[in-house]
């Protein structure tokens, strides 16, 4: 319907695939010379890693602590390497690594429901029934395709109820989901040994040809064959190594932490090195209606080592300049502490950390009211403005309009870039 030609023309390398399939001949395919890490200068393609905090973390127990106040609860704050920036003391490792990153403490949204909030925060558009908006990662993949990749260009790791979708850009831009990063990427191994697999593919070819008879044009349009070819290419691609963290030294794996999220962050770094542009790593479990404080401690024990190691690693490999890292959830949590020692949903005045990829670092934007009486933070930042900033930084024209399936022109983002970050 739209962009189907994009797939069929660029990936029409069926014959080549046939040679590569079932053998280790995939080195014949181009691509390995384009690893991001080996490229320097402005030609280096940028990537985005979104650390998705599913459930909505409390701003007060993360990047916007108000120690010693009624709303702050029992939490304390610590200094970071960024002058003037204090964060919750549950993040000592991260405090050391934040140089070059910025904090927005005044994100505002109108969606206080998990599902709607997630959709809004992942796409930059408030959800509506007649249009499924593409997630940030899908837009990036669509606008800056990496032709040399044999693995998906849009990847989501860790368990999440609402993974990043391709929306009206198409299901092929849905994030490729890896449920258990660093362990098993699922369905990647053929069920039978190579000679039998070849017989199966030969069988498939015979049956497909029979179906194609009299339907050549129609079947081509289904992209069925090219999808299978691409899946087979992927199955035999050396690039799959990016998913395997056994090759990393044990000290590195340890530093990220032995959690799904920690492994996901390590894989994310490896994917960036491989040239993947849109990566999402999920850490759910932030919905702290009860026991907010102990809950956040548990989460911090996973987030702190992983996030800090990721930043440290990206810096030491000279990748942070070309990689935007954004840590955000669907909303924040109420300044009021409820009788269950919990905090409820709070879409006005929540925090995120963003930086890298050439964005201005060490900037602190907005603040929330320490008394909790004032709902609105100072310098409120709209979700779409954050996405316009990121897209512009990736040299993607965020004002560019695409035509939705119902013929409605829609801009990639209807926000305005945040001056302070560019």
């Amino acid at each position: 319907m739209f962009d189907s030609t994009f797939l069929s023309t660029k990936f029409n390398r069926r014959d080549l695939c046939k040679v590569a399939v079932g053998s280790t001949l995939s080195f014949m395919l181009p691509g390995f010379d384009l690893k991001a890490a080996q490229k320097r200068g402005p030609e280096r393609q940028k990537s985005v890693i979104v650390l998705w905090m599913g459930g909505g973390p409390s701003q007060l127990e993360t990047w916007d602590p108000h120690p010693g106040t009624a709303i702050g609860g029992p939490g304390n704050a610590i200094k970071t390497v960024v002058p003037g920036l204090q964060i919750s003391d549950m993040y000592p490792l991260l405090a050391e690594q934040l140089d070059g990153m910025s904090v927005i403490r005044s994100m505002v949204s109108k969606e206080g429901d998990h599902e709607r909030g997630t959709k809004y925060l992942k796409t930059g558009y408030r959800p509506e029934p007649t249009t499924v908006y593409p997630a940030l990662g899908a837009i990036i993949t669509h606008e800056t395709p990496n032709q040399s990749l044999e693995i998906p260009q849009h990847i989501s790791m860790g368990n999440t109820q609402f993974p990043a979708r391709g929306g009206y850009l198409g299901g092929h831009l849905d994030a490729f989901r890896v449920q258990d990063p660093g362990k098993n990427i699922g369905n990647m191994r053929a069920g039978v040994e190579s000679p039998r697999q070849n017989r199966r593919l030969e069988n498939l070819n015979i049956v497909s040809q029979a179906f194609q008879k009299g339907r050549t044009i129609q079947t081509k349009k289904t992209l069925h064959q090219s999808t299978i070819d691409r899946a087979l290419t992927m199955m035999s691609s050396e690039q799959l190594n990016a998913f395997e963290i056994e090759k990393e030294p044990e000290s590195v794996r340890k530093a990220y932490g032995d959690s799904s999220f920690g492994r996901g962050c390590l894989v994310a770094r490896r994917l960036v090195e491989q040239g993947v542009h849109s990566i999402e790593v999920n850490l759910s479990g932030w919905d702290s209606h009860a026991n907010n404080f102990t809950g956040h401690q548990t989460q911090a024990k996973m987030l702190d080592p992983a996030f800090s190691s990721l930043l440290k690693d990206l810096k030491s490999r000279d990748l942070l300049d070309s990689t935007i890292v954004l840590c955000i959830g669907e909303f924040g949590r109420t300044p009021k502490i409820n009788p269950l020692e919990g905090r409820d949903h709070w879409p006005t005045g929540f925090s995120c950390i963003v930086g890298g990829g050439g964005l201005k670092g060490n900037v602190i934007i907005g603040e929330t009211d320490p008394t909790g009486k004032e709902k609105k933070p100072t310098e409120p930042v709209q979700i779409q403005d954050l996405y316009a900033t990121i897209l512009q930084n990736l040299n993607i024209d965020y004002k560019k309009e695409l035509i939705s399936p119902i013929g409605r022109p829609l801009a990639l983002s209807d926000g305005t870039p945040i001056e302070k970050l560019i």
Binding site: M1, S4, L7, E111, G112, D113, E115, R116, E128, P129, T130, V132, P152, G170, G171, H172, D174, F176, R177, G186, N187, M188, R189, A190, G191, V192, R196, R199, R200, N203, L204, I206, V207, S208, Q209, A210, F211, Q212, K213, G214, R215, T216, I217, Q218, T219, K221, T222, L223, H224, Q225, T227, I228, R230, A231, M234, M235, H345, P405, I406, R408
Partner: protein, 545 residues
């Protein structure tokens, strides 16, 4: 040694629990048992035929005007596959194929359609499709929204052939608790973050029942349609008195519907008003009853046309007008000829909004019976023919149809409400797992998207594909390998079971050659497994054609 006697009881406990869970799930996943209906005789009054003729005539005229030659009529096997996929969400079983073959008479497809409509699988499958259109796919807030109950209720209505207008009226005006009166989940599905979103109700009411998208008008006058923001507000005001309380959904006559003016931020009261056909609004009843009566009024042609378009979409996989819920305004029939939706709509209205009759009419029409193959390789001609319904479109199956078909193909017997508990439980779980992993198409399911790599990987290498494609005593792969039949028959059976057709001579030869190399039963099994694998992964399996 006293504890010993307890030991075995304790040891049995887990089994009991597992047994209980399995039975509960199987029970929950099934419909009340009814013996699979025999194909009934056609009724004496076969007035459907004249409607079908009218529909066909519209197409014939269109084709001759545009100089398009329709493709040939397809064979009965393929029709059977289309019917099963459209009405049951699965392919026909070998058992069903044999039963059909035994039927005589030129009207056997019509009689077979009736049989499929009577089968509980039709109600179950269509209720899921309707549920998507009415309340979407989200599970929502469990405490006040029960999608499962809603779906089960719809299934009951479809099985009982409740008139469609009555069904819609109940949805819009229903009262009570979402568990005991499941139709009220239509209202509670619009609850987000603890508040009832009346705008959402208006949007979905108009989209689902009138085939119009007026959602944009919620915030501003519609950019390229005639809908005004005041139309939206006026319609929403009909939902102004609905309230969700401990006792469920109810009317509160005290409530006034207010909106906040976007510019002045002042509140103003909005009174209920309809954008057209004001004369169809009854005097009596609660606000929602009035709205329901107006939506389903016999003069409101949008209602019947929207229904016809949705049914067409469910049966063909592509709606007559795309998108399914954004129809052009009905034309003045004194000035222009009725289109297909007008004819179907009129028949629907004049025959008591009979859902099953509408389905029968559409599947009896000429376009449903045309082949999807064409003589030409000219893409422009093919596109023109497809647009004019002179060529059956290739349509990607929904995830439920794919898993339903894989399950059915793995069994020679029909999987339905009469299957054993194990089979039904397996179907229930496999479907949930597979659809989740395959990626749900959401309520947007009538839009055509190409398949994705993860889906291809799942079909080729997934756990389900592996289990289903490995020969066992119980599945068709194992059974076909072991049957004492000729290899030729074996190949034929595999094709019938998976693709509802016989192999071409090229295919037959290719697979026969493989069987000839098999020197023992084990090898024969492997060859059958590989043959099934190819059939499962072929485009023909996951596309309707």
């Amino acid at each position: 040694m006293k504890p010993r006697s307890h030991n075995w009881k304790i040891a049995c406990l887990p089994f009991c629990v597992v047994g209980l869970v399995v039975s509960l799930v199987a029970w929950a996943s099934s419909s009340p048992v009814a013996i699979s209906p025999k194909a009934p005789a056609l009724p004496e009054d076969n007035s459907i035929i004249s409607t079908v003729e009218q529909v066909d005539q519209v197409f014939e005229n269109q084709w001759s005007e545009q100089g398009i030659t329709p493709t040939e009529t397809t064979d009965d096997y393929l029709l059977l596959r289309r019917l099963s996929l459209a009405l049951h969400g699965t392919i026909p079983s070998l058992e069903e194929l044999r039963e059909f073959e035994a039927m005589q008479g030129a009207d056997r497809i019509q009689r077979w359609t009736l049989k499929l409509l009577e089968d509980r699988r039709f109600a179950d499958y269509f209720s899921e499709r309707f549920t998507r259109a009415y309340v979407g796919v989200e599970q929502g807030q469990f405490i006040i929204f029960r999608r499962d109950r809603f779906k089960a209720w719809l299934s009951e209505q479809i099985q009982a052939n409740t008139p469609y207008d009555e069904l819609v009226r109940t949805l819009i005006s229903g009262e009570g608790l979402w568990t005991g009166d499941p139709e009220t989940n239509f209202i509670t599905s619009a609850v987000a973050d603890g508040n009832l979103d009346r705008n959402k109700l208006t949007g979905s009411t108009v989209r689902a029942f009138l085939g119009q998208r007026i959602d944009c008008a919620q915030c501003h006058d519609h950019p390229f349609d005639h809908w005004k923001q005041s139309d939206f507000e006026g319609l929403t005001a009909f939902y102004g008195q609905v309230e969700i309380q401990v006792l469920g959904v109810r009317q509160n006559e005290e409530l006034k519907y207010e909106v906040e003016d976007r510019e002045t931020l002042e509140k103003r009261t909005v009174s209920p008003q309809v954008p057209f056909l004001n004369e169809c609004l009854p005097e009596k009843g609660t606000l929602r009853e009035k709205l329901a009566a107006w939506v389903t009024h016999r003069q409101n042609r949008r209602f019947e046309r929207a229904a016809a378009n949705r049914f067409w979409g469910l049966i063909f996989g592509v709606p007559y007008f795309n998108p399914v819920d954004d129809l052009p305004a009905p034309t003045d029939l004194t000035e222009s000829d009725p289109d297909v939706l007008d004819i179907l709509g009129q028949d629907f209205r004049e025959n008591g909004y009979d859902i099953k009759r509408m389905v029968q009419t559409i599947v009896a029409s000429k376009p449903f019976r045309l082949s999807s193959t064409s003589q030409t390789d000219d893409s422009e001609q093919i596109e023109r023919a497809t647009d004019a319904w002179a060529l059956f479109p290739l349509v990607r199956l929904r995830p439920e149809q794919i898993i339903g078909s894989m399950l059915q193909a793995s069994s020679l017997k029909t999987i339905d409400q009469n299957s054993n508990l194990f089979m039904r439980g397996r179907r229930f779980f496999s479907e949930i797992d597979f659809v989740r992993e395959y990626g749900d198409l959401g309520s947007d399911e009538l839009n055509d998207f190409p398949g994705t790599i993860p889906q291809a990987l799942l079909r080729m290498n997934g756990e389900f594909a592996r289990d289903n494609g490995s020969a066992s005593m119980l599945n068709s792969v194992g059974r076909v390998s072991q049957l004492d039949i000729s290899d030729e028959k074996r190949v034929e059976t595999c094709f019938l079971v998976c693709l509802t057709r016989l192999p071409t001579s090229l295919e037959r030869d290719h697979f026969l050659k493989q069987y000839q190399t098999a020197s023992n039963p084990k090898q024969r099994e492997k060859i059958t497994e590989d043959l099934f694998w190819a059939l499962y992964n072929s485009p023909e399996f996951s596309w309707n054609h």
